[in-house]
């Protein structure tokens, strides 16, 4: 089979057709789309397909290789699970934008040139913001606006970098770019925004928790992982990324400890997991890049599972604030169980997915002699268990009983969570299928006695630290609060400065205005004096004087005639 037809269009065009079908037919139609696209991917030969000639350049709409296929597979699995999770939603707009969003992320992954990448890149931004606005609150409207502006800005960096790259290298091909190539730095910033680099990260924690119950799950799968894909394609082995990644793993976990909105806690832990991937790409060895993309694969699933369980809590309990929740395991036992599977997976418990993926990045850091980085990553590993592995299930489902009694999650949500949980455990127990589709051959062995023991020690003693701090009352209680992060710069400092500047400028304008009107009024007075009703130059002259002047002129004419 040839790969001329862009796989993205199956979801994008299919998504556009969703409003035309109703009821069970619609459910079936939406479920078939990712399955059909997945089957199409399985049949594709490697190579550059779907070539279009444009402005003297060859655009490649379908570049099929091991890296793009890996992300293609997991994006379609995520799209399928998301469709199931959202089946009960009646809002057609969310279904359409969800499918178009997943499709455009898929298109970006298979883009073989920077221009095609840019087009899909912007399409993911525009289609995904609908999932935030669909919440319908003023907070969501504002957060969505900030989100889409930052996403479009990332696209602008990508476009500017791509044009410089084209000018400098006369090629639009999207391969290894590197920092030193023309436009490389700008492209890296564009990718960095999507990957939520430190200080470019806060759109994630700002926007994701404001989206709809199902929208947040959808959002968690694609945008950031598209950034990771692009980084793995364009900047493997860029040393700076090792430090950027390590910083990303460490600082968000402090915020996660004191954050009250449990979906925002997950957004911080997402930032932390992305850090492992970025660090792996920065290290750049075969083991490290394998680890980074394998972890992206695992992360899409366990993060979806965690967001799904918190979405179910928000739907049924009506709140997602740690300070208001607790004891929900009595009402939502299945959701509790699935959440714990997600928590064990993100924490890298043996037999769960991250144990076989994240450890590759750690092993690569140790093998390349990055001791400090390795220690930071180990700290972050303990920290992620602490805030995502324990805090999320503990405050939502256990802790003190909040007295909330609600129904278990809808059946379709439970099915979606069950399937996702199965995949998380499946990858952890049988890593070979995942290892076999990684970009490089894998010789890494995750299950050694030492690795299992080390990891169990790390996790059990992290749990003990939590237990000791809770029982001694040292652990900070969940408080209703907003914690200032880098978004403060554009949400508070920017507007305050703009306000102050407006004051100064308008004051300046007012005094200019006063000075101007003084000049004008003097001018008016002067004109008035000479041309006004009493003015010398504005008097009405009698008809007699006109006749007199006419006579003078005629006499002058007569005189001239005779001369």
């Amino acid at each position: 089979m040839s790969g001329e037809f862009p796989v993205a269009l199956i979801l994008i065009l299919g998504g556009a057709l969703v409003p035309l079908v109703r009821g069970r037919l619609r459910a079936g139609f939406m479920l078939i789309l990712p399955v059909a696209a997945f089957a199409y991917l399985l049949m594709l030969p490697h190579g550059a397909h779907g070539q279009v000639h444009f402005l003297g350049q060859t655009l490649v709409l379908m570049r099929v290789d091991r890296l793009s296929l890996l992300f293609g597979y997991v994006f379609l699995i995520a799209a399928f699970l998301n469709v199931i999770y959202a089946l009960h939603v009646e809002d057609t707009g969310q279904h359409v934008s969800g499918l178009v969003y997943a499709g455009s992320a898929l298109g970006a992954v298979f883009a073989g040139d920077l221009l095609t990448l840019f087009v899909y890149w912007e399409l993911t931004a525009v289609s995904s913001v609908m999932l935030i606005w669909a919440r319908g609150t003023e907070r969501a409207r504002r957060a969505g606006m900030r989100y889409v502006l930052i996403q479009l800005l990332s696209g602008m960096f990508l476009l500017a970098g791509a044009l410089l790259h084209w000018q400098g290298s006369n090629s639009l091909e999207f391969g290894r770019i590197g920092l030193s190539s023309p436009g490389g730095a700008l492209i890296l910033v564009g990718f960095g925004i999507k990957c939520a680099f430190p200080l470019l990260h806060n759109w994630l924690q700002d926007a994701y928790p404001e989206a709809t119950v199902t929208g947040t799950v959808m959002l968690s799968a694609f945008t950031t992982k598209l950034g990771i894909y692009a980084l793995a394609r364009g900047f493997p082995g860029t040393e700076m990324l090792i430090w950027v990644g390590a910083l990303m793993t460490a600082f968000p976990i402090f915020y996660a400890v004191i954050e009250n909105d449990l979906r925002r806690v997950l957004a911080y832990s997402m930032n932390n997991q992305l850090g492992f991937m970025v660090a792996g790409i920065g290290i750049g060895s075969e083991l490290a890049v394998n680890g980074a993309v394998a972890h992206a694969f695992a992360d899409i699933l366990f993060k979806a599972l965690l967001f799904m369980s918190m979405g179910a809590v928000l739907l049924r309990a009506g709140t997602i604030k740690g300070s208001e929740l607790g004891g929900l395991y009595k009402s939502m036992p299945w959701t509790t169980g699935f959440c714990i599977v997600g928590a064990a997976s993100i924490s890298a418990f043996p037999l769960f997915s991250a144990f076989v993926t994240k450890s590759m990045v750690m092993a690569a850091a140790a093998a390349e002699g990055h001791v400090v980085i390795w220690l930071v990553l180990l700290f972050a590993s303990a920290g992620v268990f602490h805030h995502a592995g324990i805090k999320i299930p503990y405050f939502a489902f256990f802790a003190h009983d909040s007295g909330i009694r609600c129904r278990e999650a809808p059946f379709n949500m439970l099915i979606a969570m069950g399937l996702t949980a199965l995949l998380c455990v499946g990858i952890g127990v049988f890593p070979t299928p995942l290892y076999s589709i990684l970009p490089y051959p894998v010789s890494y062995v995750p299950y050694t006695a030492a690795h299992v023991l080390d990891q169990l020690q790390l996790l059990v003693f992290s749990a003990l630290a939590f237990a000791v701090l809770i029982r001694t009352g040292i652990y900070p209680p969940e408080l209703k609060s907003t914690n200032l992060d880098s978004d403060w710069v554009y949400r508070r400092l920017g507007p305050t400065l703009a306000g102050a500047l407006t004051g100064v400028v308008s004051g300046l304008l007012a005094s200019l205005d006063r000075a101007g009107s003084a000049v004008v009024s003097r001018l008016v007075r002067m004109l008035h004096r000479h041309h006004g009703p009493e003015g010398v130059l504005a008097r009405t002259w009698p008809t007699g004087s006109m006749a007199l002047w006419m006579m003078v002129l005629l006499l002058a004419y007569l005189l001239l005639y005779y001369i």
């Binding site: 976990i253 400890v257 093998a367 303990a382 023991l453 020690q457 630290a465 652990y475 609060s481 200032l484």
Partner: protein, 83 residues
């Protein structure tokens, strides 16, 4: 109103049992460390119980720093941005 079902975790002595059980697991993992001969890439990682004390200390430091530093500096009212 009907008496609500009592759950096993509702009793605080059961929670204490769990807590003690966790310590038990922790200590048995340390005993394994004595038995198992490990080849670590980084030498210090093979020290006795390295991962155990690292995990414990890391989490205590994490929580104390977040509580005493971050919360003091950056915590604001919930409606901070809406005001």
């Amino acid at each position: 109103m009907a008496e609500e079902k009592k759950y096993w975790l509702d009793r605080s002595d059961n929670v204490t049992k769990l807590y003690r059980g966790l310590w038990g697991i922790g200590f048995s993992l340390l005993i394994f460390d004595l038995v198992l001969h490990k080849h670590e890439e980084l030498e210090f990682a093979a020290w006795f119980g390295f991962y155990a004390w690292f995990g414990f200390v890391a989490c205590v430091v994490l929580v104390l720093a977040a509580k005493e530093v971050l919360r003091r500096l950056f915590k604001r009212e919930e409606d901070y941005y809406e005001r």
